[in-house]
């Protein structure tokens, strides 16, 4: 068993990495004097992974949208009971989530941590579903999908993704659609499970007041050997241009809500971390609350404090998003494009660069208070074969010139989509 201490001099923090003989990557961060332990067991398998092949099935197959999320729901049932009722005996608070590129099972607890870990490691490795139990889930997941249909913040985001992306499955709702989940059956679920829930494709991340040897002992006892399936995933080719420049929908909201996305070239590995951080710095310098641009739009009443920006990225997609509420979202977009073009020509605000850097660094230090944040950072980094400290180190080393270059590269004002949710009731009806 390969065991490494990953240490960061800047913060004086450290954690342990173990490559388990079964292929699983294990990360353990001991937090002295904390009450809560947080554990994540995740697979690099999310809603976008609908096309794949393995050594035993050498032709690419395509499965229905929403199947990763469906599988997450079904894994929470054992042959004889619900997984929640197992955790009930330890008092742990348990949950699971599916994102675009991962599925994670988690618990947090203050007592009985090893018993809880045993439950986690066991149920994720022991799927049980029949045609009948799979059918039963259609109703609940259908209701979940319908609930999101009413959620304006969710809709505005996915409508934007549908404008930005022509082929990439990131544009599809994580839970799929009522139609796509109707095609899911037990055979398909087993096929996806056996492909993606292979320990070679998974990560265990634990942070809290724990004894690493006891964690590893449990892993030795419970992890099952499985052969590396040599999994490959694929996506349809995605054009560099956007699919639609504008997407508008009406819902029960008080004021128009908008998302403005700038499509850029995706990266991977450490280059992806750099791209993410440098783009975040560019977003801060362009339009955060301390920027002249923000103040101007805010004072003109064009945006309110809900205005924010973020980088959204993953396997095969990368975009920068500005979102908020405005009575005139298209004017916000026009002003934004104008400002980006101005900054490309005249340069970003160099005076604020050091302060932005300190802010990012401070936020990363704040995360070190929290076992959930630490376990999540270790898992996310681990899935990319990176260290949890790569972010903090990249932030510490980033230069103003790097950020300026990133602005030139990542913000093509031709590749923009605006998504707007307009109120059902027009101004005339309200008067």
């Amino acid at each position: 068993m390969e065991k490494k201490i990953i240490r960061n001099e800047r913060t004086g923090e450290q954690y342990i990495y173990v490559k388990h003989p079964t292929g699983l990557d294990i990360y353990i961060w001991k937090m002295e004097n904390y009450s809560t332990t947080y554990a994540l067991f995740g697979t690099k398998y999310g809603s976008i992974n609908t096309k794949f092949k393995t050594k035993s099935e050498p032709d690419f197959i395509t499965v229905p949208n929403g199947i990763a999320h469906y599988l997450e729901h079904k894994l929470f049932e054992n042959e004889d009971c619900d997984v929640f009722s197992l955790y009930a005996k330890t008092g742990a608070s348990a949950n699971a989530y599916t994102t675009f590129d991962k599925t994670c099972y988690l618990f947090s607890c203050t007592d009985n941590v090893y018993e809880s870990l045993e439950i986690l490691l066991s149920f994720v490795q022991n799927p049980y579903f029949t045609e009948e139990t799979v059918q039963k889930e259609q109703g609940i997941i259908g209701q979940e999908i319908r609930m999101y249909d009413d959620n304006a913040n969710w809709r505005v985001f996915f409508n934007m993704l549908q404008g930005l992306y022509l082929n990439h499955p990131v544009k599809i709702d994580i839970a799929g659609t009522v139609e796509s989940i109707a095609q899911i059956n037990a055979d398909l679920l087993y096929k996806c499970y056996n492909t993606f829930y292979n320990l070679n494709n998974m990560v265990l991340s634990v942070a809290g007041n724990i004894d690493e040897d006891k964690v590893l002992e449990l892993c030795d006892k419970l992890l099952k050997n499985n052969e590396n399936p040599q999994l490959e995933t694929a996506f349809e080719p995605e054009p560099e241009t956007v699919c639609k420049n504008e997407v508008v929908q009406k819902l029960e909201v008080s004021m128009p809500i908008f998302n403005i996305g700038f499509k850029a070239k995706p990266e991977s590995g450490l280059e992806q971390v750099r791209a993410e951080i440098e783009t975040n710095f560019a977003l801060s310098l362009l339009a955060d609350e301390s920027s002249a641009f923000y103040k101007k739009l805010y004072d003109d009443g064009l945006i309110n404090s809900s205005f924010s920006s973020e980088v959204f990225l993953g396997d095969g997609y990368f975009c920068s998003i500005f979102g908020g509420e405005s009575r005139n979202p298209k004017l916000v977009r026009d002003k934004l494009i104008e400002e980006i073009n101005r900054c490309k020509k005249e340069g970003l605000d160099r005076d604020r660069f050091e302060a932005v850097k300190k802010s990012y660094y401070g936020a990363l230090i704040r995360d070190l208070n929290d076992s959930e944040a630490i376990a999540t950072v270790m898992l996310n980094a681990g899935m990319e074969k990176l260290s949890a400290f790569d972010i903090i180190e990249t932030v510490a080393k980033v230069s103003f010139e790097d950020v300026s270059e990133r602005l030139a590269k990542q913000f093509d004002t031709e590749k923009v989509t605006i998504s707007i949710i307009e109120p059902v009731h027009g101004e005339e009806e309200q008067a």
């Binding site: 913060t11 008092g91 203050t110 007592d111 039963k136 109703g139 609940i140 209701q143 301390s290 009443g301």
Partner: protein, 425 residues
């Protein structure tokens, strides 16, 4: 390992609460102004923390203030408004990294405390009132916020339900007030109210950090000493009375999925027992509501219960398809009847107990959660630590729980539903 909590009187109706926890990598200061909730002043009060958190006489614009905060390693100053029982709580929160993480040994925490207290007692003024332009923006934002509540259907339904559950009581008032009052606000009125609150409101200060900071405490004490006090008295809440008839309200909006909120009143004076009863009934994924109404019968996508100890109310909050509304209501009542009959296993009871203990033990890991804990405790008139509450919880018996469940009486059923009629199943 244990945390140290100390509460000290600084002045008339002013208390300094320090929570020392050596594992903290950050320092957090929260200043609460606690005052009575009323329709007339809710919006007027609500706008104040947002104005204060956005500027000061030293940093008169949000841009300058944010620049300073960025230099303090992304320190944050935030205003917020919340409800506790019949009281409105206006808060300023500030947080920064522990000084030992600073690149060049800067005194980040004291510096931030100074910025915060300037925001609090030395706002950016113009002609003797809040700077007009800032005020107008915050006022418009408050109105936008109130109007945007409908965007989140679950919390919106909960707010509308509360108006009915607490009809005629201060707790019925929405925490940010309403648009008609908000529209009439002026900078002069808001400034006058701000001065009034400085003088009369109950002020609770919380410091959470790895060690005591005499410097921070002095900065806060000095700033508060500069205000003349005429304390208006401690705040408290009355238990909500049961209506003589169940109040039923249905409201229609453009939504795909319906929401139902049921309010139950209780005269049970033991919040620890009630908390455990609520955990078995509907507060966890192994509770009766989750396992039966959601999992077994698929009647709701979510269905959970919560307990407001200040007002003596248990509410059941559910997302339900329109055609299943009456079925879901009947099944929720059915599950409550099971609680009243003592129809729950010892295992269900012990599991729920473990779940509450788990969440209470975790409270001390977070700066805000532990500050919130002691604020809530002091509002209720004691200073019990999570560990002390856990000891009480361990002693609750099956009989206590049955009695607590039996004390619940249905008071209100609120339904938010779509405009298209669908036949009931």
């Amino acid at each position: 390992m244990a945390i140290k909590y100390n509460r000290e009187k600084l002045g008339d109706g002013i208390h300094y609460n320090s929570i020392i926890n050596e594992r903290q990598k950050t320092n957090t200061i929260i200043i609460h102004f606690v005052t009575g909730l009323s329709q007339e002043t809710a919006s007027l009060n609500a706008v104040i923390p947002y104005i204060l958190a956005g500027s000061s006489s030293v940093y008169p614009t949000i841009t300058e203030l944010n620049k300073k905060l960025s230099e303090l390693y992304g320190a944050v100053i935030k205003g917020s408004v919340s409800k506790m029982g019949d009281s409105q709580v206006l808060s300023l929160m500030a947080g920064c990294i522990n000084d030992r993480y600073a690149f060049d040994g800067e005194k980040v925490t004291e510096d931030m405390t100074k910025v915060m207290t300037d925001c609090l007692i030395s706002p950016h003024l113009q002609n003797g009132v809040f700077f007009e332009k800032d005020f107008e923006l915050k006022k418009r934002e408050l109105i936008d916020d109130i109007e945007a509540e409908i965007n989140e259907k679950r919390s919106f339904a909960f707010k509308r339900a509360n108006m009915n559950i607490f009809s005629g009581e201060p707790a019925a008032v929405s925490v940010k007030g309403d648009v008609s009052h908000a529209e009439k606000l002026t900078s002069a009125d808001a400034y006058k109210q701000y001065l009034e609150l400085l003088k009369t409101a109950q002020i609770e200060i919380f410091f959470v950090g790895a060690q005591e900071s005499a410097g921070c405490k002095k900065i806060i004490t000095d700033s508060l000493n500069s205000i003349g006090r005429a304390f208006g008295g401690e705040n408290s809440s009355a238990k909500s009375p049961l209506k003589s008839e169940v109040c039923r309200v249905t409201e229609k909006y453009d939504v795909a999925q319906s929401k139902m909120v049921m309010g139950f009143k209780t005269d049970c004076g033991d919040p620890v027992t009630m908390k455990l009863m609520n955990a078995i009934f509907g507060a966890t994924p192994i509770s009766k509501l989750f396992m039966n109404v959601r999992e077994k019968l698929s009647l709701c996508y979510y269905c959970s219960s919560g307990y407001n100890d200040k007002k003596g109310v248990v509410y059941v909050d559910s997302g339900v398809e329109q055609e299943n509304i009456s079925k879901a209501e009947a099944e929720i009542l059915n599950q409550l009847d099971a609680m009243r009959r003592g129809d729950f296993t010892d295992e269900e009871m012990e599991n729920a107990r473990k779940s509450v203990i788990n969440s209470w033990k975790g409270v001390s890991d977070g700066a805000r959660s532990i500050a919130e804990w002691y604020f809530s405790r002091s509002y209720s008139g004691d200073s019990l630590s999570p560990e002390e509450m856990i000891e009480k919880l361990k002693k609750v018996t099956r009989e206590d729980i049955v009695k607590a469940a039996d004390s619940l009486k249905l008071d209100t059923v609120y339904v938010l539903t779509g405009k298209e009629e669908k036949p009931e199943n």
